[in-house]
């Protein structure tokens, strides 16, 4: 007997015990949903984390800092810690700057539409590729004796180490900044531009005193997002870092795979966990305060944004076109490498590598697709339930639930992967070698985007609609399915889209979890690269990019369709890449 008063209920003042008792009585559906949610969070988020902390801090059954102090006593590890922070700062600064220039090019110039379309299409490439794709071709272009260096007559670049890693990560992550900043630049009020200009300000002054200050929340958000992504990235420094530039995620990986020292690896990943959580909390408080201000629809007629000062427009054009051309060049190398017999020795056209990919790699392709589809479905169902409960229901521990459900998302992938082996390798919950562990790793890490977009979307849906349904006699469950779900479908699809992309391209958590029964395309690509099979690595990458592109286009189309059908205008920000 669901009641129609739960929504209207004022914040509970009574003791939590009484509240719980009343919850069972008043809204049994919510009660059982909460139990199921907390149970799954306990298993897939808290248990691994607790096991990781235990492996780090418990020595011979007692609490001890011996592990951590042993790690910190090694100068190399301390350097890795600083390197991680320095790299993250450099990547977030450069990535945000480039992202901002691209966003200005799209939103504040009167360049021809096709050019703008091309620029934004190119920024999608790094997003739908595995995070290390560009490092293959970047080595060939800018590495020792690189093609581009030779073609331009440049000397050697000190490529392995900071520079290579920095360039590669910046190219990989700037599209995130671009998306965040494009969103904020388009939602600004263009009337402010007019006001500034009509008061006699020059375009430069307007840009400096209106556009930039109003972009600040977006810029800060982008910097933090990129900082977190770079901090967590494991594959790029593994390939390009070399011995001169150790960073924490790769050190943790090497500690485990090379020295089979799970404790040392846990300790190193704990070091990574602290700055990652800080950045996440900082970003949350920043976005939390600001996020809904810009989504309010303006009713008045909008004027056009004024264009950039001329000199700035030229600079923006030069940079964005140069970088786009460079990205295209890098992907062209991969495409070319996948179609020639032996790279740089025998350049005759061949389909052999694709035949190899579709014969020997078929299992990896089908496994990856199966895992991605199952994760996307399970993940978005969970995201809808959790998002709905958090936004629409009142119960004790709501904030804690919101924070906990997104915890894995805030942690670097390597940390999650290591924690998962520690937690699910022994009875009672034995999951290593199964598809479940891979699906769980993806779901509880990447459904966060879904949860957020569901919450954001529900905030725009007037509860009066649901109340109407309830007062007409529908049960709360029926209301949920017949009223709420259709209204938030575009948001759900947006969440699904990113969940699917992540499941297809992420590697840092799952490299520890693949097994003989379940393998992934990304690990096959990394494997081909370490086995000198450049052509096959390229062919695998091309297949992966095409698959993701098709799926992405399909989901975008569905989103548009549903937006038209259900009439909600819903823009969701893509807010983390989580390598």
């Amino acid at each position: 007997m669901p009641s129609n008063i739960t929504i209207e209920q004022p914040p509970a003042m009574n003791s939590s015990k009484a509240q719980r008792a009343s919850l069972i009585r008043k809204d049994p559906a919510l009660f059982s949903a909460l139990i199921a949610i907390w149970l799954s969070l306990a298993i897939f988020i808290f248990l691994p984390l607790v096991r990781l902390l235990a492996a780090t801090f418990i020595v011979n059954g007692t609490l001890s800092f011996a592990n951590l102090s042993k790690i910190l006593s090694k100068a190399y590890n301390v350097r890795a810690f600083y390197n991680s922070l320095i790299l993250a700062m450099a990547v977030s600064a450069a990535g945000t700057l480039i992202g901002y220039l691209f966003a200005l090019a799209i939103t504040r110039t009167n360049w021809p539409k096709p050019l703008k379309w091309l620029l934004s299409a190119i920024t999608i490439l790094p997003l739908i590729s595995p995070p290390f794709t560009s490092s293959i071709s970047l080595t060939l272009a800018l590495g020792p004796n690189g093609m581009l260096l030779k073609a331009l007559g440049l000397g050697q670049l000190n490529f392995y180490g900071f520079w290579g890693t920095w360039i590669s990560e910046t190219l990989t992550y700037f599209p995130v900044a671009f998306m965040v900043l494009t969103a904020i630049l388009t939602t600004m009020d263009a009337n402010l531009d007019d006001a500034a200009l009509s008061l006699g300000a020059s375009r430069w002054r307007m840009f400096g005193t209106v556009t930039v200050p109003l972009s600040m929340p977006g810029i800060a958000n982008a910097i933090l997002l990129l900082f977190g992504s770079s901090l967590a990235d494991f594959a790029t420094p593994l390939i390009l870092g070399g011995h001169t530039f150790p960073v924490l995620p790769t050190q943790a990986y090497l500690q485990i795979t090379g020295l089979y020292d799970l404790k040392g690896g846990s300790g190193l990943s704990f070091l990574l966990l602290v700055p990652a959580l800080l950045v996440y909390l900082f970003q949350r408080s920043l976005v939390g305060k600001r996020s809904y201000v810009t989504i309010t629809g303006k009713t008045g007629a909008r004027s056009q944004f004024s264009h950039l000062p001329h000199a700035l427009e030229i600079a923006v054009g030069a940079v964005s076109i140069f970088i786009s051309a460079f990205i295209l060049y890098l992907y062209f190398i991969i495409l070319w490498g996948s179609f020639v017999k032996i790279w740089s020795v025998n350049n005759t056209f061949t389909l052999d590598h694709f035949i190899y990919v579709f014969s020997h790699g078929r299992k990896a392709i089908t496994d990856t697709l199966k895992i991605a589809v199952v994760s996307t479905v399970v993940g978005s169902l969970l995201a809808v339930v959790i998002g709905y409960v958090i936004q629409r229901k009142k119960f004790a521990g709501r904030r804690v639930l919101e924070f906990s459900s997104m915890l894995n998302y805030a942690l670097p992938g390597t940390v999650v992967g290591i924690a998962y082996i520690l937690a699910f390798n022994e009875k009672p919950i034995l999951l290593t070698g199964t598809m479940t562990i891979l699906v769980a790793a993806y779901v509880f890490r990447y459904y966060a985007t879904g949860i957020r977009s569901v919450i954001a979307s529900l905030q725009q849906v007037d509860p009066a609609l649901e109340e109407a349904s309830l007062s007409l006699g529908a049960s709360s469950t029926r209301t949920f399915f017949n009223v709420t779900v259709p209204l938030i479908i575009p948001a759900v699809l947006a969440g699904m889209r990113y969940l699917f992309i992540h499941c297809m391209t992420a590697i840092s958590a799952t490299i520890f979890l693949v097994s003989v029964r379940w393998t992934l395309l990304t690990t096959r690509i990394l494997e081909s690269m370490t086995e000198l099979q450049f052509s096959q690595a390229s062919a695998f990458s091309i297949v992966l990019i095409v698959l993701v592109f098709i799926a992405d286009a399909l989901m975008l189309w569905l989103m548009r369709l549903s937006t038209r059908k259900f009439g909600t205008t819903q823009e969701t920000l893509y807010d983390n890449t989580g390598a």
Partner: protein, 331 residues
């Protein structure tokens, strides 16, 4: 309705855990995927036993097997240096089994206690880029000391000892030649010429083939593979000598498909394995002396091979790696 949705959700999450495939052989292979694919295809054709496998580096494979000790995910470990197996024996992860034709395999190519059987022998070799040598006007290196020549500055790629068996083999050779302290003193000097320590033993081979790097130290199997693909590379041996890796295979304790695993070991000890490797140009020197090798590059009569006891390798591996990280990489 929502309750059933919740049950459905949990069910979906738990479902795959109960779906286990049975009746095939599951293997971690340290041997590169491209070789393992061919060899297991021949094994399946001979015995009808299907093989599921995933390729891991030697350190990664051992780490996993030790971590999964209580619930082995695979039945066999295939390929990879025998000292990895010796380290595994100390962890108690291998099962004893004497393959049918083990007596035909020389004593130094198999475990004294039947924990593993040797499936191939691979000495270390220098590989240099032909054009690089010409440009620098130097001859292919014929001594370990040659690699210290400043001409190689920033041009050497070789494997990282933390992840690669090739790298530990290199350290064993150097210890045999220079003694332990001498070996690390040498490597500190060598470090100044290093462009990159690669994660896998073969990782530096392609960069050398394409001219990104000048030279490196590899197992013969990886170096020959590059040469066979048609790249301009020169192979040479140091006059002080090289140790060799014995590639091994063994059954894991608690293997779920024990009979199939034994079949693989029996097959590995027979002449068939060697013949497949020769026919498919997979350049391990077979452990069976009665398999005829056709590739002249695998003729070891002019190469100074240093014997290094595998138990000694296994015992010292960890200490050497730690010393390498602390003294060579972090200097």
């Amino acid at each position: 309705m929502k309750r059933s949705l919740v049950v459905l959700l949990l069910g979906l999450i738990m479902l795959p855990a109960v779906l286990f495939a049975q009746g095939t052989l599951n293997v971690y292979t340290i041997m590169p995927e491209k070789y393992a694919t061919e060899i297991f295809a021949a094994f399946t054709a001979d015995t009808g036993v299907k093989v599921n496998f995933i390729r891991l580096s030697s350190g990664e494979a051992l780490a996993r097997i030790v971590a999964e000790k209580k619930n082995p995910q695979v039945d066999c470990l295939w390929g990879g240096p025998a000292d990895t197996y010796e380290a595994g024996i100390l962890e108690g992860v291998f099962e004893q089994y004497k393959p049918k034709e083990a007596d035909a395999v020389p004593v130094k190519f198999k475990s004294a206690d039947s924990y593993w059987i040797g499936i191939g022998v691979i000495p270390l070799v220098f590989m240099s880029n032909g054009k690089f040598l010409k440009d620098k006007r130097i001859n292919p290196p014929t001594s370990w000391e040659d690699l210290l020549n400043p001409a190689y500055k920033g041009a050497l790629q070789m494997a990282d000892a933390r992840t690669s068996g090739t790298a530990t083999e290199r350290i064993y050779t150097l210890v045999k030649i220079y003694g332990e302290d001498g070996a690390f003193a040498y490597q500190k000097k060598l470090h100044h010429n290093i462009q990159l320590y690669t994660k896998s033993g073969a990782g530096g081979a392609m960069p050398i083939a394409t001219g990104q790097a000048g030279a490196g130290v590899f197992y013969i199997v990886d170096a020959l593979d590059i040469q066979q693909q048609g790249y301009d590379v020169v192979l040479s041996y140091p006059k002080e000598g090289v140790t060799y890796g014995v590639e091994a295979a063994g059954i894991l304790k608690g293997a779920k498909n024990l009979d199939a695993a034994k079949k693989l070991m029996d097959w590995a000890s027979s002449k068939k394995l060697g013949e497949v490797m020769v026919a498919k140009k997979i350049n391990y020197i077979p452990t069976r002396p009665d398999v005829k090798v056709t590739n002249p590059n695998l003729d070891m009569s002019k190469v100074k091979l240093l014997d290094a006891d595998i138990a000694w390798k296994g015992k010292n591996r960890q200490a050497f790696i730690e010393r390498w990280v602390n003294e060579v990489v972090q200097q």
